[in-house]
Structures are given as C-alpha cells and as structure tokens.
Symmetry: C2
C-alpha cells in the first residue's frame, strides 16, 4: 500500500472515486461466520434446502365435502342430483378405515386422508341433502360431476422428497419459514449477524437526546447509525464515546471486538482528526477522501481483520457515507446483496439539479406530483434536508447535473 500521508490541515492529496471505493469494499467483503438456528425470517441461508419428506405424505382432501369415486358423479346436475350413500367420515389426522365402493361417499374435511376406493372430493357446495337434512350418516346427492383427481391433494403435490425447496443465499421470507416448518426442518445454517461497533469522537458532543448547551451540540450520529445498522441486519455493540486524542482513538480501535467499526467524526483533515492515522498505524488505511458531496472525508481501512469506516461527523455526510459504503458492506457481511435497501422510482426533475464534474453528488429531493425537486443544493451539511426529503438522487461524477425534465432515479427513504 502507499505510505500514509498525513492530511491533517493539508487537505486530501487525491480522492478516490465512489466507484473505486465500492470496488475496494466489494473485494474485501465476505459473509461472517455462519451459525445454526431455528429458521427465522430475514436470516440468510448458507446452503440450499432439500425437503426430507413428501408434502402431503398421503393423498388428502383439498375441500370440505365427500370422498367419492368420480365416475359415480358423472351426469349429475341440479335437476338430476345423483344420490350417494354416506358410509362414514374422515377427519384431518383421522383416516376412514373402510373402502369407498360404487355409489358410496365418505364425508371428508379438508386435509383429511382420502379413503381407499375414492379418487375425488365432491365439495359440499355441489351437494344437496335429503332426509334428515343433517350431515350425519345417511345420503347426500351430487348436483355436479367431479372427475377423478378433482380436489385431491396428491402425495408430494406440494413438495416432493428430495426436492430443492429453497436456494442457497435465500433471505428467508415468512412463507419460507412456513415451508421449513411443514417439512420438519427445525435448524438451518445461516450467515451470522455482523457485529458493529460505533465509536463516536468529538469533545463538543453531548450524549444522544440531551439538550444542547452553549457551544456543545448533541450527538445525532450514534442513534442514527444504530438505527441504520439494525435495519441492515447488523448487531450493535455497546456504543462508545472516545476522546479526541490520538492514543484514545487508536486504543479504542485496537481493543474493539467487532466485525465492523464505524468511527463517527474525527475522520477529516483537521488537527483533531486522529482516526485515519490510527488506522494506518494499526493496519491498512485503504481509502481516505472520496470524490463525493457531502461526505468527502470518508475513509476505510482494515485493522486485525476488523473493517473500519471513517464517517464524517456531520450527520448528513455521515448518513451519505453510511448509505453508499458502510450500509451495503454490512448487508454484504450478513449475506445480503450490495443494493441499498431503498425502493427506487424513475421520475423527471422539476428544476435543474446542480452538480459538479469530478464528484458524485448525493442530493436530497422532494417528490411531488411525480416531479423531483432538489432540497438545499447549497447547505450540503444540513440534517434537516435528509429529514424533509422523500429520498435522494445520485448525480454521477461525469455529470454537470440534470436539466429540468431530465429523468433521475430516486432512492426513497421510506
């Protein structure tokens, strides 16, 4: 790697492009160690799953009604009901012991095993009862024909033994959990949950949610980053405030037991920005300075196998750097894809979106009447823009901006 260049009070010598940083991160990213758990939605399978059983394991009724020989109902219609002798009943989990013969029917509930002899289920809606009018043994008449096989769930109809039911790398959905339950798979190997530590520097910071006093401001980044990491499937380790002092920052990085360390603040080119030097001393500082507005002071490095992100202290820059780099990386460590977890829409710009060639612009926008309008292209550092915005647009570094009417992709915050 290139020798460490101390940018403090000198500015970045050269900035990496957003694409370069993403490529660098993708090379380093690999899922964290797997674990075996009871299936749970949102977790990511390591291996594909084959069913150990047939579902259903027996032929069963798919409707409430009567198990019959289909051919016995041929010719039935409401004006010409075909009578059948009801010889018993089959319930879910409780089979009928005998055999259904010609002209016979067994009352059957959805899910009950189909009795021997029967090959179809005549739904209750296609019957009339005479005599007592009750549903007890007696007779019932078909008002419509059901061909053999109708309303019968065949063995293995849903899933066959040995069939792949879920692919590897699947992010488990609620219905997947139902499926794994149905086939009796009570333990699956899933990608582990990345452990993420947040180290916050800044002597001017007051603890989260406290009232700002004097020249001190309240830490916004720690609770914001906790929410972002949780959303992206990471586990937050107890957050730590670190003194703006070189040894303190260095030791906090060194002693932290996490897969990912997010350092909020102290990442820029000011005299108090110790984190880049600490990462370079302890391990490798792979990027520092990105052609990105806001969030140019973002950095990334590796220390003892821990991935360290240097995030700007400014909250909206911090959000931007997290969205573009740390978030996808954490999702990826957890087995998820690199994409940002935002819905996107393609819409025209209402007014010009200004950008500069040579950097990516992360522009917060409002969407109204299916038109996209930038918020505060000046004050790039203003958190309220990210709060008031419906989403953001990324303007490519080769672009001078977007003219009115130009189509843009909006990443929706909701």
């Amino acid at each position: 790697m290139t020798p460490f260049f101390d940018v403090r009070m000198k500015g970045f010598r050269d900035r990496k492009t957003v694409v370069e940083v993403v490529e660098l991160l993708q090379v380093r990213s690999r899922p964290v160690e797997s674990e075996f758990i009871r299936p749970a939605a949102g977790r990511v399978l390591v291996e594909f799953i084959e069913s150990p059983v047939n579902v259903p394991a027996f032929a069963r009724a798919a409707m409430d009604g009567y198990a019959v020989r289909g051919e016995d109902t041929f010719g039935a219609d409401p004006n010409n009901p075909v009578p059948l002798a009801v010889i018993g009943s089959a319930l879910p989990g409780v089979a009928f012991d005998g055999t259904v013969g010609a002209g016979q029917a067994v009352r059957i509930m959805t899910g009950a095993p189909l009795p021997a002899g029967a090959d179809a289920v005549l739904p209750v809606e296609l019957t009339v009862s005479f005599g007592a009018g009750s549903v007890s043994d007696g007779s019932v008449s078909a008002t419509e024909a059901v061909p053999p096989g109708r309303h019968v769930g065949r063995i293995g109809e849903d899933v066959r033994e040995g069939q792949e039911v879920l692919p590897d790398h699947r992010v488990l959905r609620p219905q997947d959990i139902g499926m794994l339950s149905a086939i009796g798979v009570d333990e699956v190997e899933v990608v582990g949950i990345p452990k993420v530590a947040i180290l916050t520097t800044g002597n001017e910071l007051l603890p989260p949610f406290s009232t700002p006093v004097g020249y001190h401001i309240t830490d916004a980044n720690t609770p914001m980053l906790e929410a972002l990491v949780t959303r992206d499937g990471g586990q937050i380790l107890p957050s730590e405030r670190v003194e703006d002092q070189y040894e303190a920052v260095r030791d906090a990085i060194k002693n932290c037991d996490a897969d990912v360390i997010l350092i909020s603040g102290g990442s820029s080119v000011g005299a108090e920005d110790h984190a880049p030097r600490a990462v370079a001393e302890l391990g490798e500082l792979l990027a520092h300075g990105v052609a990105l507005r806001p969030a140019s002071p973002t950095g990334f490095g590796v220390v003892d196998g821990k991935f360290v992100f240097l995030l700007p202290g400014n909250p909206v820059s911090c959000l931007c750097a997290y969205d573009l780099f740390a978030g996808p990386f954490i999702r990826n460590l957890g087995g998820r894809n690199w994409d940002m977890p935002y819905r996107t829409v393609e819409l025209p710009a209402k007014s010009k979106i200004v950008s500069a060639v040579g950097r990516v612009d992360y522009v917060r926008v409002k969407v109204a009447k299916r038109l996209v309008e930038p918020l505060a292209v000046s004050g790039a550092s203003i958190l309220s823009t990210a709060v008031f915005a419906d989403g953001f647009v990324l303007i490519d570094q080769d672009s001078e901006g977007v003219p009115p009417g130009g189509m843009v992709t909006v990443y929706l915050y909701d």
Copy 2:
C-alpha cells in the same frame, strides 16, 4: 347484523367481495393506545414535533480551515496568495476568546464556534503555509477568496426553534432519530404496538418444525404468521394450540387478551369449523366467506373489542388472507398505512393468467426477463407456489384474466 347462518357442511350462502371486506375493516380500524418512548426507528409519531432549539445554536465552521473576514481574502489566487496572521484556534465545543481583526485568521475545526469578527471560513485546501510549514500559530496564506458567510453554519440554519421538524403519523426513519437526538427530544408519543394472538386449531397438526408422521402434518401457519405479524409491527403473544372442539375454540377467543386474534384453521364450512359460530356467539361475525381464491373461507368479527380474523388452515390461503386483510389491519392499528409492505412493479404477462369473473384471484408469479408468468393456477392451495414465486398478482373480480402481453402489477415478496 344479520342472524348467524351456520354454514357448516352447507357452504357459504353469499360471499362478500374483497373490496367489501376491506371497507368493513377500514371502518373498524383505529390505532391502538399511544405510549411515550425514547425515539426509535419504525415507530409512528402521534403528534408532529417542533424543535425546542436552534440548530446550530451558534454560528459555526462548516469546514476545517481558518476563520477570517471574507473581505480580507478578496483578490487571492494561487499566484497571488494573501497572507494572514494566525492568532489562535477554535475547536468544536471550545470557542476562541478574542476577535478576528483585519488580516487575521483563527485556525478553526468543522463545528467550532465562529470567533467574533470573522464572517467566513477559509478551507484548509485553499491555503498554503510558509515559514515553519507547520499548523501552529504563525501565518497562512489564502490562495482563493471566500466571500462573507462562506462555509459558516448560521444560527438555526439547520432547524429553527419552533419549526416543525417531523409531521404527525411519521414512521420514524434513522435520520429522524438523529434529528430528535440533535434537538434534545428524548421522548415522543408514538402509536402503541398491536398485540396479536395466534390461535391454531387442527387435531391433525404437529408442533411447528416437527417431522410429519402418519396422517398428521406439521403446523406451517403459526411460524409463518409470527413472521408476518412481526414484519408488520405487531407483537406476538405466546401462540396457543386449540382443540377442534366448540367450547375450546370459544373459550380461547373469550379469554385471549389481545388487540387482534388470528385463528388459523377451523374457519371454513366443515363440521369441525367452530370458529365462525364462536365469534358470532361471543360478539359479531361481520364477514365470513370472501369472493377470493384461494382463501374464500376467510372471516372477520369483533369480540369484546378484540378483532378476530378467521384464516384458512391451508398455508397459502392463510398467507393470502393475511396479506389482503389481517396484515393491512395490523399495520393500520400500529399507525401505518393500509398498503401491503411489498414493492410493486408493472410488467407484461408472458402467458395468459386465468381468472374467473366474480372473484379476486391471488396468483403467485415468477418474474423472468421482465415478463410475468403465473405459477400453478390450478393447485391454489400449494404453499410451494408462494415459496417459489417472486411475488403475486391480484386479478380483479370483474376480469376473466390477463392475456399474454397484458400489463399487471406484481407485488414482490422480497
């Protein structure tokens, strides 16, 4: 209300349309009782939030560099650097005590209070140092002009005291949490979390994730519903298996302390389907039987202020009824909007999607090469279709289906 009509072994007398059931649910839906909590992402604000403070509360540097009088830098360029005398420094949380006069500069870090006299920040990138070449007190030269106000965060620039920062009904995002922290709002009133009980009936059912044996099948619905309810912001109460016996079902409903009761199975027209009668006896059965495939035996009622959903025992019907009715209702009780939490895409059908006039069809589909293909339009009851599908399409009850090339809205499961 209409007198209870016992549909057991007779079939539904008349089915409500999907739209009728949704309207009926929307009339009954109201957010559960609010609570006061530390701001947390995903929770829903009851009231709008006004900022009690200005952010920033003081003029501050938006860049690392030097606090200057902007006019002093006029005319500076790289070939004509303008020297400034560095008279001190300002750090975040630590103000410079003096006043910046003509030709003077104070070294300043991002976030530090702007000293008296200064009206702009000269970024470190726009300076050269001579002499010791260090960043200590001495002199620095501007290589570009900065107009007054440049790189200065004005008082209230981000948020003004009294300004509405978040609207009511807001589902809190990570940056909203950052904002609430920044303005020192450590407690907000949010819609409570709906408590949801899952009562599962079916004597044929084995506990979730156990190996199916004989004519018994393993309960898929309980763990699937738990995952769905969790996704939709509900709190799952300990799930309960209920015997297929009228008094057991009735007492379980009566004794259940929940906002919403999901009854899985026993909701149809079979002799063992006790739940509809129990709801009618204990309270009001407002709907039973919906023109919807699958999931026609879905029902809804109210018992002692508890909302009771009768969900089909068949897993894919259960998923369908949950997606269309119970899920939106639970989201709504939690203060969220009625929409299903699925991304949608508009795409053409690859092949014909079959439907029947008079009912809504919930058709699981694959999406490949931006074409939509239905899975298993027969086997409506097959859970694997919902597992293998990328999403689903709803075919309106007035439609006979969609021809090849017809545009459909796909609700994506991912």
